[in-house]
Each structure stands twice: as C-alpha cells, then as structure tokens.
Symmetry: D2
Subunit: 358 residues, 4 copies
C-alpha cells in the first residue's frame, strides 16, 4: 500500500554491492505549515546490545522511507561489552554519519541512559557529547543531558522487567519533570502501546513518542507493514526543526494501523488524508471518499438521530475509494453523521469523534 | 515495486461490499506520441470454461492497473455447457459492460474461435456480434470475423495439446494470412513464451500479443508480479486507438521481467525509463542511473574495448538508483560501453544490444 | 506458519490445467475423542450473487486445507437473476459435487433463506431439497427446513443493513428457537465478531458458527492468513458426524488470531497445542513452551501473588519455542502463575483465564 | 512451500527478546546412506566488511533451516578496519560459538584469504587458527591453511572486479591444485552461477560449492525463497562428516530453483523426491506424481517415439500432486517417456536427461 520511490540519487555510492537501492514512500499528509516527518529515535547497534553495524540503521531507514533517526546505544552497558574494545559512546553516531549524509537521512546524536527503575531507561537526543552522560549517579547523567540542551524522553514505561505488574509514575519522574529533565515518553515501544503513558502525556504536557527500539535488523519493507515511529510535524526537514517540534509537542505516534496523539493534529491528518464529496438524491445521501494516504481509518457509528440510517462499522482502506450511502427517513433532509475513528486515539484507548454534517 | 493509486472515483458504486477498491499503477513509460496501455485480450468466464463471473474480470483488471481487456469465451464449447442454459456468445460482454464503464476499464467485445489444429484457437476482438462466428466450417467463422473488421490473432501456437512436439506453422495459417484473416500471434500465453511465434511475427509482419488466458480468478496483486499482458502504444486510451495500434503492430509483450517486441519500441522504452548522468574524474567514469519505471533491466557486457573496464552483468531494479563505475586504462579518455539488455527480446531469445558512449 | 501438504492424490484429475495442486495444512489440535474439522458453512456462487463457479469453491477449500463446506446461495434472489436462466436451488451443489468427491472435501447441501429482519438471513444446511425452501411466507421456509432435518443458523446477526444501530434479538427469533427451527448463530461473519451473538449462544444453548460468507474468490493462501471458519469437533470426518457435532454444540470459531467458544473446548485446545516443561533452579523457574499448532496465544497476567515476578504480556507464536522465566521472591518456593489468554474468548470479548502451578 | 518447524528446544534461551523463535524446514530428500545437510560456507560480519554481529548469522541460519555455516571474514582487510579495534581473525567464530551450540547449528571455523587475482579470494574452512593465515605472501597463507588440514575453495571465480571480461583459470590455480591447496570452487555465489566453474569441477574433480556471501542481514525467510547454499550429502550431521563429504565431492548446489551437481546425486534426489504411479487404460497411460519435496522440477520433452504423445513442458511444483496423461497411438503399448529436467544441471547450463519407461 506504499509507494516506492527513490529520492536520493547518491545513495548507491555508499551502499554495499548487493544492497537494494529502493526507497519506499509512506503517504501521510502534511499539516498546515508543517511537514510530517517519519522518525525513529530509539535503536541499537553492535556498539551496545544491537546486532547490526551503525550504517545498516541508515540503509534500513532509507529503504523504509524514514526522514530522521537517532541511534541510541546504551551508555552504561556498552562499556562492559566483552567482545568489543570500547571506543566512545559517540562512536555509533560517528560511524553512521557519512552514510546518513549521502542518503539524506537526518541522523541525530543520542544515547540511552539505562538505569534500573526508577527512573528506568531514558533517551537523550540532540546531544553534543554522549560520553559526558556516563556517570555513576543517574541524576548526574540527566544534568549533563540537560546541560547539552538535549530532548529527553522515558523509554518503554510499561516494560515488565522494570514494572512487573503496573505502569507506575514514580516520584523520581516528578523530580525529573520539575527540573526540566523529562520532555517526552514513549507511548509506543516496538509495537507495545502504554495507555498510562498516553494519559501522562496529556496531563503533564509531555511529548508523545513512538519508536522501534530495534536490536535486530529491521526486516525489509513488506507492503503494509512498518516499524513503530514518531510523526513529527516540523517547520522543515532539518534537525533544528525536529528539535523545535519535539519541544512544542507537535508529534503523533504511528503504530500498526493506529495513530496516537492530540486531537487537533489527528483531526487535521484525517481531513487532509481524505477527499469527501457529498451528493443528495431524494431520501439518500451518498458520501464519496477518496483516501489519498497510506493510513487506514476504522469508523464506528456513535450516538445519532435514528432517522439517519448508515453503517455501524466502516473501514477506509489505504489509497482506497469508497462510497457510503445514508438513508434519510421520515422526511428529514439532513443531519449529523456521527462516528468515532477507532484507530485514531485521542485519549487512552479512545477513538477520535467526528461528525460529517449532511 | 508498483504504486497503488485509484484513478476512478466511481468504481466502488459497483463493487460488491467486500471488494477491495484499490488500483495498482504499473509504471511503464509512454513512447513519443503514444500512451502505453496495459491490455489483456484473452480470458474466460463461466460462459465458457472459466470459473468466474464476467464482472470479476473487470474488478481484477481494475485492481491490477490494466487499461483494456477482452473477454474471449470459447464460441463453440460454450453452447455445450451442460450446467448453464446458453444465452449468447455476446453475453459475457453484455454482463460486464456496465461495470467496465464505471471503472473506466476499456472492454472490447471478442470471442475465441476454438478449433482443432490447424488452425487451432484464434481470438477475434473488436467484434460486433460474436454469435455470427459460430459456424460449422472454421473458414466461415474467420470470414464472419473479417466481415466485422475484427482483429484476429492465433492463440498459444505452441500448446502441446495441439502441437505435441514442435511449434509448426501450417499451410492453413498461410491461407488465413493471405486472406487478411490473421493479424497477430500470441508470443506469450499465461507465462509461456514461444520463440517460433516471435520469429514469425518479425518475418510476416504480424502483431506480437501476450495474454493471461485466465480461466481461474487472477490472484490479487502481489508486489512485483503481474499477469502476462500486451503493451499497446496507442494514440489515446480509446478502443479505436487500440484497434489502430494493433493493426499497425505497435505493441510489446510484458511477461515476468521480459519485454518482447520490435527493437525500435524496446529501445525507446529503455531510454524513457532511465535517467542517465555521466561524470568523468581522472581515469574513472561514473554513470548514475535512475530507473523511473517498474521494469527490471538485466545488462550483460558484449564485445568492447578491453581498456574500458566495467561490469560483466548488472541488474537495474524497479524504481532503483544505481551508480556504475567504469575504469579507463592505458590513458584512453572514453569509448563505447556495449551491453545487451538480456530481458528485452528483440529476436527470439536474444536481448537488445545497446551502447552508452562515454 | 502453515504446512503445505497434499492429502488427496486424485485432485489434479479434476483441476483445470493451471490450477495449483497444493493443499495447505492448518495445524489445530484434535480433542479427546474428536477430530477438529475446519469448516465453512456459508458462501455464494454465480447461482446467486457470488462471482465464482461452484467448483471454484471446492478448489479454494482444498487449497486452504478445509475439511467441509456448504454452498449456500440465496434461495429467493437467485430466481430473479436476470443474466442467468434459473435452474434449481440445488444446482450449485449438484455442479460442485463431483469435484468435492475427487478432492475429498465434504460438501454439504444448503441454502440461505434470505428475508428482511426479522428474522433476517438464515442458513439451512444438510438439506435434501433446497427448492422446497422457496416459499412466500418465511415461516413456511423454516418449516420445510425443519422437515428436512436441517441444521439452521442465523447469519450475520449484526449486519448493519438489517440492524442499523444495535444487534437485537427479535421475538421472531424466540419463536423460531422454541419451535426447534434455530440451532446456531454466526458469532463471526467474514471477519466481523458479534459479541451479542456470543452471549446468546451461551445463554440459549445455541451452536457458535463462523463463516466466510464469500462472494468474491477467496484469495490464494497467504502464510498466516485464513478465512473465518468453524472448527467442528466431530467423531469422524463424515457429514453425519459433522451434523451430530453441530447439534451437540461441539464447535469453536476461528477468526484471525481469535478462537471463540465454550471454555471446556478452548481449554483443551490450549493444552493440546502446547508442550510445557517446568524447571526450577534456586529462586527462578523456567517454563519452556513448544507450540505445536498454527495458533497464536496472547497471554496477559491477571491477579497473582506479587512475590511471583513474571511477564505482563507474552505472545506464543505459531510453531514457536519459548522460554519464560519466573522469579520467586522473599523465599517462596512456588505458586500460581495466573494469566488470561486474551485471544481465546470464552465470554463476549473476554479471554480465558488459566493457571500454571509451579 | 516450506514447513515451519522448531527442532531445537533451547534456542530461545539465547535469542534476544524480540527474535522470532521459528525455524523453517526445507524438504530436500536424503540420499541412500547420507543425510542431506543445508550449508552456507561463506558470509561476513562486522569483523570484516559485513554489517551484522556474528550471533545474527546463527539466528538467520536457524530461522532458515540451515544445518551448518562458516563465518569467513576477510583475513587481511579486517585488520585495517578503522572503526573497530582488531582482536583476532578467530573472533567472529569465538563470538558466535555459544549461540551455535544452543541452537544446534554446526559452526565451522573459517576465513577468507582475500587477494587480488590470481588467485583471487579463497575460503579455508575447518581451520584451527585463522590468524596463522594472515601472511604477506599469499602462498604462505595457503600453506598455513593446508597445514591446518582445511578445506579450501575458490570464491566467485567470475567476479567482474577481478575477472572483468571472462572467467579464467590461471596458472596459479593449477599450482594450488597440484599442491593440494584447492579442493573446491563456488559454482554459485549469491545467486550468480558460473558455468565455467561448473565445467572445471567436472574436469578437475573439484567439489561444487554454493554460498550466500552475505554481507547484509539475510532477509527473513519468505515462502519459496532461500539463500544460495551447498547441499552436503554427509554420513551424519557432524563437522567431521561434513568435512569428509566435502573432500569426497558429495555435494550439490541449490540456487533459486536450480540444483547443480553430479548426475548420480541429482538423479537420486529426483527419484527420492517423487512418488510415481503408472496406470494404463486402453491407449492412455496416466502417470501420477507426488512431489514430497520443496524442490521444483521443470521437465522438457526430448527425442522420443512420435507415437507417444505427451507434454512439451511440464512443471512439478513443490509438494504438488500431478497427473500426466500420455497417449499411445498406432497401437503401441508402451515406450520411453524421455525428457530433461531443465533446472537440474549436470553439465554447464544443461539439464539432466531422464526416462520413464511405460
């Protein structure tokens, strides 16, 4: 369901002989004044416990149509890797940078502060020197991250190894938040959605993040599948604009068929993805819908005037063309077609409500 | 490797509830003055020995990105179908027409004159009344087809049930040809390529045709696979323009990764599909190639100046971006990069030769 | 995730030339005393509003590894089909029977009594003459169905065209039930699950059914996907045994990753699918699980002794091998590992609870 | 077309959390007295110019159903890798060994002697210390390899970077051969088949080898696709038995649909894969064929008695069931059904001839 394109002429100069030079384009609409960038801010390489070389992360991102990534190797454990002589926590970034440049992938320097709970694992991205975040006391690491003006988010807050029964917010997180050392949370990590984290982001004005946390190779793109990612609504496709957008919480999370985020952004995505045409004839209204995106929309009827007779559930497929019929009974001439978009989550596990007035 | 698009807003009005409203777009370049139409002129329905209803053939064509089809049920055997009351040899066309119109698929009325060898099975398309082709003597059927100004082509000339050991041209075919009752041959039928038929088309100025001959449902589109089809280089996307192009032999056959046809068309397809950029630096030339099509190109080096050192085999993937390096030895400053495009057949089983001068 | 096998040597004698002679085997365990048969009791052909010939339904069933099907063309509307001369409501069965026999697929004669709500659409299978069910008054149709000792079930009870806002049980259904003319309900129709119907089956002792209701061709088998179907726990693979099992409510519904049915059957499926090995060492217990089926199991922790520390969510993949670690804290030596199998629905939208004592 | 199984209970103990614990089984028959082992003796990791960590090679092999692999990092260039501190040419083996043991994959220590042509690149496997093969003079490396009793084969003999126009045998190879330092050749490397190498193996009694030469991650198994590999007909599934079989040239190469090897092995593979049943009735013979393997067989009729009328081309699909009809004309009662198996190469680009006497 995704278009294959090749934006960057130069990529093949750096790819190994047998690598596929084909980039997929994921169609997700832009918002007014912003481009929608597909980003993954959490992944690993052989320089911590990942199984691929840093340049592979660039090829994968290029192939899958991403705009920006951050390689975030564990800062602490990397130094204990027995099979590899330690070089620096900046090393995976340094190794990948040239390939990122030739392919046009925006590479953001980062690292994962990997501590026991509290506060658990947090990524600091847009760092200037990750080695400075290697400290004994975790607070020192966060202070160093703040001093570098990084964007800091809490990873997989519901990870069962660290939160065995429930997804808890600890006093330590309050402290980090109050001291300006926590800016976002992974609402989705590698396909897992954390509704509690969704709620915290809404309440505490934190940025919603979704990432792959890839350790293994990311499988080659297969039609209709994509890694968990963050959609960043940025003023332009630059590292600075991504940083600004993250701070201003202009993101949504894209996970399987789900989009998770603030209602104002999801509503605009919905409206920009679809062309609607409404036609009336006698006691029937026909709504023709053209989906110009690779998103799926799962509609479910909500409370409505019973004299408007329409679908109970309706799925708009990627790039699909649909025609919905609505019967007007008892002589009414119009009304509100109410439904929720069940896979556009604007509250924890709650779909976005929407009305088409006919 | 193919783009999914939806050209026709109206299709869903006619599709059954659960049908997929998604059309694939196959990227094959146009030629100068002509649009490249993807056509399949040979398929069956329940009105002969096929297993689907005629409208299904339209949905399949829409889904797979075809522009035109002809349903060509067997004219003779249909009348002997014991499980179905015979209606008319025009019936499958009549049943499918309304759906064809709403989806924008060009539907061409046709039928298969299905006789023993010689002359075997032949399709007559652009008929006005297929029933008139139901005759005792096969020559009467061809005369009726000619009287209707149909385009007639010989199907699967190497079908082992009718030509057990070798693909033979019979005196009867000469007679049909001389009397203006044979205009083309299936060089490909359902994935099978007949090099003898390829040769006959070149020698006897017959139109090269490739078709699916589908009896079962055509599988839903799977990335990178497509049915055997005829590419028609037509002045416009109309039945009349297709008819004119077929008569003027402006076709090529698309089968798996192969394109089969006259060199002048294949050369233009090759050149229109690819953007080339040639850069020299010292004793190296770099050719950057961007493939803007869904076609694959399999290059194989041919005779050349040994001081030009380049690939032996090279595959240009669909929508791919490639960079080829050529070394200039012994102080030469340029020369001819000679190769054949092994999957662009301009003679039976022979690839098209091409030279890039650097 | 499914094994490809070919049980029936004879199938290729009847398949059209180009048909795939490959049968998939879906691994779902048998229950004690019963074989688990994969059945689809609801589909259409060109003899009502389907788009394929009846024999195609047999090929599809063979290919996908089903054991039994019923072709259930609409009894009333078939007579009004303008493009086909009406033969008999038994005709699709008659046409498909020879192919069913050579492939070993059990073909059950049936038809769909297709009325407005109430009572909506109902299938009557194991009929002896479907034409007798063509009546003016729908109750006469049900009486004729009962007289033939058919098994009758209500189709897609939540179909929005007939139940626009809510899935209602009508007095007419009570009447049918009381008169022995309603034995089951489709809890799943073509991927849609109806929790209300699930509840009614539990309360009113009705048989749970799941079907494809295919009108279009069923897509060729793709790894990991299957049509909605009914699992019938029968004494043997015969029509009579299926009939007996349906009457005794020995079924479950298989839909995507979900199994829906009575707890006693689902529990036995779960236990027969998995080999468990429990090993203790110090304060850790390791449970090794080998999944010998093509089923997925999505486990979610439920209330438990907090000193047993284990996963919050865990997915057992088809044919997968897993090792689960459980920590014993505060000196305990064992306890109950409690979880629900979220995709094994034993109540409407509720997973089956299970305990492994360690 | 391949069965998914899980042979080794222990693999999940060592896999990273998100790794798939599912092993595919490739059905290829054993030969009398020998098990058919699927092997890949050429691949790279981050310890030379590959992009994955050594353990990933084990997971890939496990997933794809291989029995044995050798990681063969470039011996010379690895020492010049600027982003990694050099440890030892044995290191990738040492890192992967524990995972190999838990998964049951046989890991063979090896390295690639990577020199300019002549003699080009050669792998030495079953080494005891790869570091000893790091020498200035390439002959010293081969002598060290011989001293360790390794099995040595020439890699990608038609690699265009080293053999720009033709695949040549150099005097240096003769010398290596005469001195017992060359035992096999890659007839296939990463999908590319070298017919010259095929010829040399037949003439010079060298072992035919096929390998992936993977630098990137090997894509997850997709139905019907597999990496290029060597089939080793070994007395048992042990390193010693593989070594013995390689020395005795009991191998074949499996590449796409092709099997390449000596006729005696290919004939036995063919016969062991297929169950044949021959039935006569009047003037027709029916041959029923059940393919119990994942191999495809592409038959093409060869010279034959014209009174035996049968297929021109026939494809036996993996795990497929087929029925072939042969007509006996002019009163003959039997004869030889002659054909070649076009994708079983027993000479360069020549299929294996076979006769079924009926």
């Amino acid at each position: 369901m995704k278009k294959i394109i090749s934006l960057f002429w130069v990529v093949c100069f750096t790819l190994p002989l047998s690598a596929q030079c084909v980039r997929v384009k994921i169609d997700i609409p832009n918002l007014k004044g912003y481009v929608t960038l597909k980003c993954d801010f959490h992944m690993h390489t052989v320089f911590s416990d990942g199984l691929v070389w840093p340049t592979m992360r660039i090829y994968e991102a290029y192939r899958e149509g991403l705009d920006a990534i951050s390689i975030t190797d564990h800062i602490e454990s990397a130094r204990n890797k027995k099979d590899l002589v330690f070089i620096s926590s900046n090393h995976s970034y340094n190794v990948a940078l040239a390939t990122a440049k030739t392919t046009g992938i925006i590479l953001i320097r980062g690292g994962e502060i990997s501590r026991s709970m509290p506060p658990g694992h947090c990524n600091a991205i847009f760092a200037t020197d990750v080695d400075e975040l290697y400290t004994t006391d975790y607070m020192d690491a966060f202070r160093a991250a703040k001093a570098q003006n990084t964007f800091i988010f809490w990873n997989h807050p519901g990870w069962d190894r660290q939160q065995p029964d429930t997804t808890l917010w600890w006093p330590e997180h309050t402290k980090l938040l109050e001291q300006g050392m926590l800016h976002g949370i992974e609402v989705v990590n590698d396909g897992d959605y954390f509704p509690e984290a969704h709620q915290w982001c809404l309440e505490k004005k934190l940025t919603m993040i979704g990432n792959s946390d890839a350790h293994l190779p990311v499988p080659e793109f297969v039609s209709g599948k994509h890694r968990s990612m963050t959609l960043v609504f940025a003023r332009s496709a630059t590292p600075e604009a991504i940083h600004e957008a993250l701070k201003e919480r202009r993101t949504a999370v894209y996970n399987d068929e789900f989009i998770i985020g603030e209602e104002k952004y999801l509503k605009e995505l919905f409206e920009n993805a679809l062309d609607l045409k409404i036609e009336k004839a006698d006691n029937t209204v026909r709504i023709t819908i053209k989906n110009n995106s690779d998103l799926t929309f799962r509609l479910k009827k909500t409370n409505h005037d019973a004299r408007l007779v329409y679908f109970r559930d309706y799925t708009i497929v990627p790039q699909g063309l649909h025609s919905i019929s609505i019967k007007l009974e008892d002589g009414i001439t119009g009304g509100d077609v109410n439904f929720s978009v069940e896979n556009f989550l604007v509250q924890p596990n709650k779909g976005m409500r929407y009305t088409i007035r006919i």
